[in-house]
Amino acid sequence: MSAKARIELRPTPHIHAPQDVTVIMRNVVLACLPLAGWAVWQYGLSAALLGVTVVASCLLTEWLFGRGETLRDWSAVITGLLLFLTLPPGFPLWMGAVAGVTAIGLGKTLFGGLGMNVFNPALVGRAFVQAAFPVAITTWTPPFFEGRFSGLIPTTLTLPFTIPPETSRWAGAVAVDAFTGATPLALAKFQQSLSPATDLFLGTTAGSAGESSALLVLVCGLYLAARKMLDWRIPVSVLAGAALTAALFHLLDPERHPDAGFTLLSGGLMLGAWFMATDMVGSPVTPRGVVIYGLLIGVVTVVIRLFGGLTEGVMYAILLGNAATPLIDQLTQPRVFGEKRR
């Protein structure tokens, strides 16, 4: 016999699990799509345009700065989609593009790209525009307004580098109830009025493009958790941390502080807990560390909501969690097999 072979030298192990980075990322994109779809259903053309703009700006930036192949792993698409989901639906497109460029440029490629960043890129983008354009980013649109598929929210097409127009008159004209333009959190904070739980759950309230339906977020998040694409301990501990803190303050002063249920369902907590705190790049790797990280995020979120100057604190809480991750990782090294318990 004269079979010939080229010998391949490869390190152990010679086989690998089928889920590689691309597969995971593709699935997360998949899980985000229903949320984006719901946002478009709620807010119409403006939301669709904003989504496209943000994702495109993320991809463009990744392509400009990234090294070669990095576009193919889908992670920039996730960043873009999630960033879009955290922005108000009527956010001027040019500001959306600024957010996308910052997210990838400042939040990711500056540190060396995928896996090297320390802060969640999407939230870096959002935090940046929140600090840069605080008025525009707190200008909400009532959902299901009339003519959302035939026209745009007036702020959407603001000329680059100019101030978006005032929308309160427009909102009054197109919405059934002008006051729905305020988010449930703002209503709770400044008016002490709690929106009904079913509205929050189903997502018929105003807010960021992707944060309004807790149900949808939950379903998509559970899909990812079931397929082991995310670490379920993170969302669970974030939500637990938030619920416990909220319940405690509610007990102390029920008049002023909303209850745990409202806390869980309102604002970006669900989206943050399931899709953003779970970004593994900025979260700890150790089993105990993950739980501490989640609790920290939950607690800080509620503290900012109740006592801070801002109505919502999820974003900052996650960024702070990211910042604390290296420390948490160091302090929670698992006990090695066979090592004496200290």
């Binding site: 072979a5 152990t12 089993p287």
Partner: protein, 466 residues
């Protein structure tokens, strides 16, 4: 009850096992190759010292190299023939291992012609251990640790339990399975010898629950024998690692950096003990072993009994090879090394030959990503290390920190972390590099004078002189 609380350990992984291809093919004997390459260090410890010279005639079973000290093992001629040369040859362990090359007599019957005068029934502990030592038996489970050392339990550290490792957790391999099914009598005899040699009170045979036939068979055969228990353990990699198996069966953790004996346990592979049970009554030495030849690149996968020293090229010709390129793995896919030369021989520690063809290799594409901090490796590592951190440190060349703060030395290179890593980072390889670098560093520190002039000169000369 069994369904819900199976005996197992924490972490670990579930790779597809691919055992069906060979698990039901009975053990067959492979013909003798025209030339054998018999390495002098087929075991952990000092290499054996040749007793023969170039041109000398040897008969099957005759000692051809003696053990060099206690932690060492003798080597016996696997076939009748003539010593062609003694020189460095590539083996799975090293590119230049001193080996005895034997030209096999084609005409010989290849019966074992050399016997030791052992009388198992009359032998006491010491005599048993001495016999094990003389027959050159080493662990056939993979590590090739000299068995007589393992069985020599010191007075001050008695052993209470003998754990018999029938897990065979590596995917693709099935030789232990076949041995359990085909040679249960030899196996149980070997277990009894080992109990006698170690002074342990009981033996537990641990078998992964994906081999129900072996479990049932052995349970039936030991029903009357209270000293020997047969336990099913969960099918999970690396269940067969002795530390994990002890944890699963007995709930005990071997101390970090320690050995099973520290908690009164001795672990032996089923193949080792079956071999012991087969050889001792015959007065024969270890000259062959059972291996699984399998993988997509093999035409006739199966379990084969092969003489030690058979080059894998010969095995492949016999079992049939297909494909253009292949990854030739000595052992299982998780821990077995690729070989770079088809003259590499099967040795005492080789439990299988796995051939991954080009398509399989391509599927495990070498594309890697940076670590995305997903923590899967942390949740897979059976030793509960932090492979992610170790990997990052290794990439940065921070080997000392790996050892000092992240327990590098506790990693037994099982590959669970690399298997599961979605970024496909070659973590184990990084750790092996780190360990070797540290050993080098240590060696350098020990002899301040540089030993580097011609490092291989010494071994080359020695072999030539012999």
């Amino acid at each position: 009850m069994r369904l819900f609380r199976r005996k197992t350990f924490s972490h670990g992984i579930h790779p597809p096992d691919h055992k069906a291809e060979t698990a039901h093919s009975p053990i067959r004997r492979l013909p003798f190759p025209p030339r054998l390459v018999v390495p002098l260090d087929q075991h952990i410890g000092k290499p054996a010292v040749p007793l023969v010279h170039k041109g000398q005639e040897v008969v099957r079973g005759e000692p051809i190299a003696r053990a060099d000290g206690f932690l060492s093992a003798p080597v016996h001629a696997p076939a009748t023939g003539r010593v062609r040369d003694i020189r460095p040859m590539p083996t799975a362990r090293d590119r230049l291992t001193p080996c005895i090359l034997i030209d096999v007599y084609e005409a010989a019957t290849q019966e074992v012609l050399w016997h030791y005068p052992w009388q198992p029934r009359k032998m006491d502990r010491q005599a048993l251990i001495q016999a094990v030592r003389e027959m050159g038996l080493v662990g056939l489970g993979g590590a090739a640790f000299p068995s007589h050392v393992k069985l020599s339990v010191p007075e001050d550290k008695p052993a209470h339990t003998l754990v018999v490792n029938g897990c065979e957790c590596e995917p693709y391999l099935s030789c232990d399975h076949r041995v359990m099914v085909e040679q249960p009598a030899e196996l149980l005899r070997g277990v009894r010898y080992a109990l006698r040699a170690t002074g342990a009170k009981r033996a537990i045979i641990g078998i992964e629950d994906n081999k129900p036939d072996a479990i049932r068979l052995l349970q039936k055969l030991t029903a009357e024998e209270p000293a020997i228990e047969v336990e099913a353990v969960a099918t999970k990699y690396p269940q067969g690692s002795e530390k994990m198996l002890i944890r699963s069966l007995m709930g005990l953790e071997v101390p970090a950096g320690g050995i099973p004996l520290d908690i009164g346990v001795v672990v032996n592979n089923v193949g080792t003990l079956a071999m012991l049970g087969a050889l001792l009554p015959q007065g024969e030495a270890l000259t062959e072993r059972v291996i699984t030849v399998t993988g997509p690149g093999v035409q006739r996968p199966g379990n084969y009994r092969v003489p030690l020293g058979t080059p894998i090229g010969f095995v492949l010709r016999e079992a049939g090879y297909r494909g253009e390129a292949g990854d030739f793995v000595l052992g299982g896919p998780m821990m077995g090394p690729s070989v770079s030369d088809l003259r590499t021989p099967i040795t005492k520690g080789s439990s299988g030959l796995l051939v991954l063809d080009e398509a399989a290799v391509r599927r495990e594409s070498p594309r890697t990503w940076p670590c995305i901090h997903c923590g899967r490796c942390v949740n897979a590592c059976p030793m509960r290390l932090n492979p992610a951190m170790l990997g990052r440190l290794a990439a940065a060349g921070e080997y000392q920190r790996m050892a000092a703060k992240y327990h590098l030395s506790d990693c037994f290179e099982c590959g669970s972390c690399s298997w599961i890593c979605p970024a496909r980072i070659p973590l184990v390889q990084q750790f092996r590099v780190a360990k070797q670098w540290l050993r080098d560093q240590e060696r350098r520190k020990r002899h301040a004078a540089p030993p580097r002039q011609q490092p291989l000169e010494a071994s080359g000369k020695e072999v030539r002189a012999a």
